[in-house]
């Protein structure tokens, strides 16, 4: 009875994890998958397995590739966690210790909700637990001792010392606490003599599972999930999806604003709609500290060299992360702009074609050489607005650069410069119109009726941002309140 309840609770937890992780953390899962790489080649396996903790890393990378389909990936992870709990339960002679068998998989599940933890953690735990169980089943003592010794050595070099965390400073203490706690549970469970109990362990198991299901979702970082969502949609060029997610205008981070502004530019609506969304300076257009999305923005604008620079350094420069499929797809796209750069794109394609889900990947054609700078200049990351100006001057037909350049001037409130560039333009979307009206008004060339209406409202509210109603989605509002 108690065992049956344990199995049901274990299965329920695995299903809960599957659904929650797969449906609520899909953006994060896509991010993790993009940062990882698993190649179906002997060389890759040898390289991975040859390193410390290689078996856990290799199996972890194998599982991570299935995050490409979040529900499939989370199902596999749920299965792994259930397998871990089942392995620990094998050590429990007494029903009393049975609920404790759920704790290691619960700890892993909670840690996995933080994307910095890799699947190598549950893989390593699971391998160790099942290996220990297999050794414990050996009947002949000397064989058991030899196998235990060999298993311990193998576990230490090829399983435990794995890459369980993807950032430079890994929480080693937490990792070893989880390992030590799991070992302790197995040891205690094996020592406590067999005892049949009916209600206490069953209730404890159900309670534990319930508490976990209630508490675990609180571990999810919503901001991180929002950023991961936007990043994934940028990666998949899902511009409509970005605008649907951003409906309502409230954006929690500059990175989300970067994605929304890029989507607007790609749809040709940046000048028209950008102030329907939260904007705050030029960081709303690009944030160079975030290399991934910045490289996408630069590429789609025509700054291919700079995009490649950021993408490459994001790939090659992170000491705690191997290259991922997303890095490779970006470098392929960034190098496939013209035939002269194709050989280098081909190098990355050779690798990507050895993966499971990208074996048919082909470079996209969103940027043509005519969008790139025609004359060379040194790119200054400290003055993006000026760089946009240089490119716009060289490639006035590049509409994305035109819109970004205009937007950067508006966000920096350089209305007179804006007027000098776009005052005579035939194309004049809403935000441009509003900016030109401000310039005219500031120059004493008269105030347009709509602007006058805004000024009256502003005066009526005594400069309070909260009372501006429909005007809160105008450039005038941004000009006054940001």
């Amino acid at each position: 009875m108690t065992r049956r309840i344990f199995h049901i609770a274990n299965a329920a937890l695995a299903i809960a994890f599957w659904l929650f992780y797969g449906l609520k953390c899909d953006g994060t899962m896509h991010g993790i998958e993009g940062d990882s790489l698993f190649l179906f080649t002997g060389q890759f396996a040898c390289e991975m397995l040859g390193r410390d903790g290689g078996l856990s890393n290799w199996l972890g990378a194998f599982l991570t590739q299935f995050y490409y389909y979040p529900l499939l990936g989370s199902a596999l992870m749920g299965l792994l966690l259930a397998l871990l709990a089942e392995g620990v339960a094998r050590f429990c002679k007494s029903d009393l210790t049975l609920p404790l068998a759920l704790l290691p998989s619960m700890a892993c599940a909670i840690l996995l909700l933080d994307p910095k933890w890799t699947p190598a953690l549950p893989v390593a735990l699971c391998l160790c637990v099942w290996m220990a169980y297999a050794v414990s089943r050996i009947k002949v003592l000397w064989i058991k001792v030899v196998c235990a010794f060999a298993a311990a050595l193998f576990a230490w070099f090829k399983i435990i010392d794995c890459q369980f965390y993807t950032y430079a400073v890994a929480p080693v203490k937490t990792y070893y606490i989880v390992f030590a706690a799991t070992s302790l549970i197995c040891a205690v469970s094996a020592v406590i003599p067999q005892k049949k109990m009916k209600w206490i362990p069953s209730i404890a198991t159900v309670l534990l599972a319930a508490v976990f299901v209630m508490a675990a979702p609180r571990k999810v970082d919503k901001l991180q999930e929002e950023i991961a969502d936007y990043s994934y949609m940028v990666r998949m060029r899902d511009w409509d999806g970005i605008l649907v997610r951003a409906k309502g205008g409230r954006l929690s981070s500059p990175l989300s604003a970067n994605a929304v502004n890029l989507a607007l530019a790609m749809k040709g609506r940046l000048g028209e709609d950008m102030f329907n969304y939260y904007q705050n300076g030029i960081r709303s257009l690009i944030n160079f500290e975030e290399r991934k999305i910045s490289s996408e923005i630069l590429y789609l604008l025509g700054f291919v060299n700079e995009a490649r620079h950021l993408a490459f350094e994001d790939m090659a420069g992170n000491p705690s992360r191997d290259r991922g499929v997303y890095h490779l797809t970006r470098l392929i796209n960034f190098n496939a702009v013209d035939s002269l750069r194709l050989p280098i794109a081909q190098r990355y394609l050779n690798t990507l074609h050895k993966t499971l889900f990208y074996r048919h990947f082909e470079p996209e054609q969103l940027v043509c050489p005519q969008m790139e700078p025609s004359d060379d200049f040194f790119f200054n990351f400290g003055d993006f607005c000026q760089m946009l100006g240089f490119l716009y001057n060289q490639r006035p037909q590049n509409e994305r650069v035109r819109d970004y350049f205009a937007a950067s001037l508006l966000l920096e409130k350089r209305t007179s410069v804006f007027s000098s560039f776009f005052g005579e333009s035939d194309y004049c979307p809403k935000s441009w119109k509003e900016a030109l009206q401000i310039t005219k008004s500031l120059n004493g060339e008269g105030t347009a009726p709509e602007l006058q209406e805004y000024v009256d409202k502003y005066n009526a509210c005594h400069g309070s941002a909260g009372g501006m109603g429909r005007f809160s989605r105008t450039y005038w509002y941004y000009f006054n309140f940001r």
Partner: protein
Amino acid sequence: MKTRLSIILVCLWVLVSCNPEGEIVQSASAPRIFPDYTGITVPVNIAPLNFKLEGASAIVLDIKGEGSYRFRSSGKTVCFPIRRWKAMLEAEKGNTLGLCIRAKVNGQWIAYPAFNWEISPEKIDSYISYRLIEPAYEVWNVLSINERNVETFDERILAANSLTGRSCINCHTSNRAPIPTTFLHARSAGGATLYQRDGKIRKVNTATDSTAGAAVYGEISQDGRWGIFTTADIRNGLHSAALERFEVFDGSSDLILVDFENNTVSDSPLVKGPEFQETFPCWSADNRTVYFCRAEALKQPEQTKQMHYDIYSMSFDPQTGKLGGELVKVFDAAARGKSVSHLKCSPDGRKLLFCASDYGTFPIWHTETDLWMLDLRTGEVDPMEETNGAFADSYHCWSTNGRWICFASKRDDRVYGRPYFAFVREDGTTTKAFVLPQRNPDFYLTTFKSFNIPELYDTPEPYDARDMRKFYFGTETEQMTYSK
């Protein structure tokens, strides 16, 4: 009995004379093998030149010299058994080999036009070191300096930044003496120049209060005592034009002379000061002259594209340890619209090999960079058209006997450098270059590492990465002092 024997012999003859390849179509175009090993001169001691022919499902390679050799492959790759390869090269030393490839492509046997290999009896140095690094721009992650035996495929790591606190390690250079003295730089908080002489490694800090910084590019004299180096304020910029990539330039640069016996750094007013920039020094063969690049200092990066470095020389007295005499302009690169870098003097002292770019001082990202050879006796320059590739050829060095050069070339894809060799003929001209052979010819198409600063030498380094780690962390850095 005789009849039976005759029948067997006839059967055998029929079997042997049967063409298992069936009908063969003659191709008009040369086989597109990778790496391109057609029409090259190779040293007698080179490792097997394994190659692949894309699309082939079987290959028969017939080689004809003094003897005949046949190699078969049941795939697209030809991998020579190393013993047969060595025996063949030894037997054919000094000969020209004709290679004829027949390959089965899409079920059809094709015979390609033959091509030649010249087997030079002049040996190349047995070892090559290179830095393996992802061709990033400003940051790096994992990099190592490896030593490869060019006669086999054996490779070992001399230094790895994973064992030296992620520091940037670079510029492994040998003086190619019979007992070589070598150095490499490790850049980080505890970084220094790691100097190896007679098997003993020292960690020295060449930066002093009176010089601009630590030693950068340079060479060690044949006796191992003196080092001539650049000291520079190195900066960089990112190009925007489509096919440009990255620019490295010096805010300022001077030359320094390092005395590794007395731990002193000195300089000369001839190569110090803000009016001119001096860089990439090298010793003459007798170590009594220093060649270097020099340009008028212009505002950087605004005038980087106007920076043109010429070749100058000045004398050096190894007895007194003084740089001096007068500056002599050896080659006016600016007059040809070029800028030179990476000077390397031949072991016989008659030639100077250097990089010629359109402007600036850091040629590896300049796709137009070629190697040029200057005859120091006549002043004539050879643009080495037979040897240079489509994109940047740089980071060259000479073999100890002066008959081979090695360099990093990005000719295949613009970005990833690979070590190439070329033969220097008696008349000083150079042959078509070929890439360092790998066990798996696909290696160069799949690796994410770029080879830079290839360096030839004949005696293996007496240390490996683990020794280097011990020295790096366990040895006190010797501080050099400035000597006027």
